[in-house]
C-alpha cells in the first residue's frame, strides 16, 4: 500500500460503523457466527464495518476467532 492509498483509507469513515463499545458487546456472538460460517457481515454490517476500521477491535476479533476455532478442533 502506498502513501496515497494508506491516507485515503485512514480518512475514509463508514457511517454504519457502530464503534468499539457495541462491537465489543457483540463480539462473542459475531465470532461464534463467523466461526460457523454464517453470513456475519450481512447480519451485523455495522460491527463488520467497525472491525475493518478499528485495529484493536479487529485484533481482538482475530484472537477470539482463533480461540473459538482452536477449541473446535
Amino acid at each position: 500500500m502506498n502513501g496515497w492509498s494508506a491516507l485515503e483509507r485512514f480518512l475514509r469513515t463508514d457511517p454504519s460503523d457502530v464503534g468499539c463499545a457495541e462491537a465489543m458487546e457483540l463480539l462473542h456472538i459475531y465470532a461464534e457466527l463467523a466461526a460457523a460460517g454464517a453470513p456475519v457481515e450481512e447480519r451485523y454490517p455495522g460491527v463488520a464495518a467497525h472491525l475493518r476500521a478499528c485495529g484493536p477491535c479487529g485484533e481482538d476479533f482475530e484472537g477470539l476467532l482463533a480461540a473459538v476455532r482452536g477449541e473446535a478442533h
Binding site: M1, N2, G3, W4, A6, L7, E8, F10, L11, R12, T13, P15, S16, D17, V18, G19, C20, A21, E22, M24, L26, L27, H28, I29, A31, E32, R43, Y44, P45, G46, V47, A53, C54, G55, P56, C57, E59, D60, E62, G63, L64, A66, A67, V68, G70, E71
Partner: protein, 212 residues
C-alpha cells in the same frame, strides 16, 4: 447505528452446565472456577503467543501477562454471567480483552516516544509516502498538517498526534488519558471525518479519490 442481537436460542448443554456450576456454591463452584481459570489461561497464553512477535515482550513477561489476563477475566466473567452464545466463547472474549489491556499498559514500561511529542516530519512516513517522490505529495501533506491545526479540537489533535504521528497503540493511549477504547476511537473517527472534509474543500480529494 445499533445492531440488535439475533434470535437467541437457549444455551447448549455445555454452556448450561457452566452456568449452573458457576451460579452455584461450595466445592463444586470452586472446582468449576479452577477449571475455568485453566481454560482462560490456555487461551491467554495462546493469544499472547499469537501477538508476541509484534510486541517487545519476552517469555517471562508474556507468561506473566497471560496469568494476569486470565485472573482478571475470571473476575469479570463471574460478575456478568450471561447466555447469548456458548459459554466458553463469551468467557474467551473477556480474556482476549484483558490481554489487550495488559499489552496497552505494558507499552508505557518502554515507550518509544512521548505520546504528545510533535515531530511533524514523521507524518509522510506514517502513511508510507515515498521520499523519492516528495514533489508529488508535498502539497497534500502540508494541507493535511494545516487541517490538523485549523480543524481539529484540542482533544482531537492530541489523539491524532499520539496515534498517528507517534504510533502510540490505541489501548496504550486509553491508559495514558484515563479514557476508554470507544471514546478514543470516536475522537479519532470524528477527526478523520473533519480532515477528509477539509482536504475535499481544498480540492485534494473527491468522492472518487485523489485529485492529482
Amino acid at each position: 447505528m445499533t445492531e440488535q442481537i439475533a434470535a437467541v436460542a437457549g444455551p447448549d448443554v455445555d454452556s448450561a452446565e457452566w452456568l449452573r456450576v458457576l451460579a452455584g456454591t461450595g466445592p463444586q463452584r470452586e472446582e468449576g472456577l479452577a477449571r475455568l481459570h485453566a481454560l482462560l489461561l490456555r487461551i491467554a497464553r495462546a493469544e499472547v503467543a499469537r501477538r508476541g512477535p509484534r510486541l517487545r515482550l519476552t517469555g517471562p513477561e508474556l507468561d506473566d501477562l497471560a496469568y494476569q489476563a486470565a485472573a482478571d477475566a475470571l473476575i469479570a466473567i463471574t460478575s456478568k454471567l450471561r447466555g447469548e452464545s456458548r459459554f466458553t466463547t463469551w468467557a474467551y472474549k473477556f480474556v482476549i480483552f484483558e490481554v489487550s489491556t495488559k499489552i496497552g499498559r505494558h507499552f508505557w514500561r518502554h515507550p518509544t516516544v512521548p505520546f504528545d511529542a510533535e515531530v511533524w516530519e514523521r507524518l509522510p512516513d506514517r502513511f508510507g509516502f515515498d521520499p523519492a517522490r516528495e514533489a508529488e505529495w508535498r502539497d497534500l501533506v502540508v494541507a493535511l498538517r494545516r487541517a490538523v491545526d485549523e480543524e481539529l479540537t484540542t482533544r482531537q489533535r492530541r489523539v491524532f498526534v499520539a496515534l498517528v504521528l507517534n504510533g502510540v497503540p490505541l489501548d496504550a493511549l486509553v491508559i495514558e488519558l484515563a479514557s476508554n477504547r470507544n471514546a478514543i476511537y470516536k475522537t479519532l473517527f470524528d477527526a478523520r471525518r473533519k480532515l477528509r472534509a477539509a482536504l475535499a474543500a481544498n480540492g485534494y480529494i473527491g468522492d472518487d479519490g485523489w485529485r492529482r
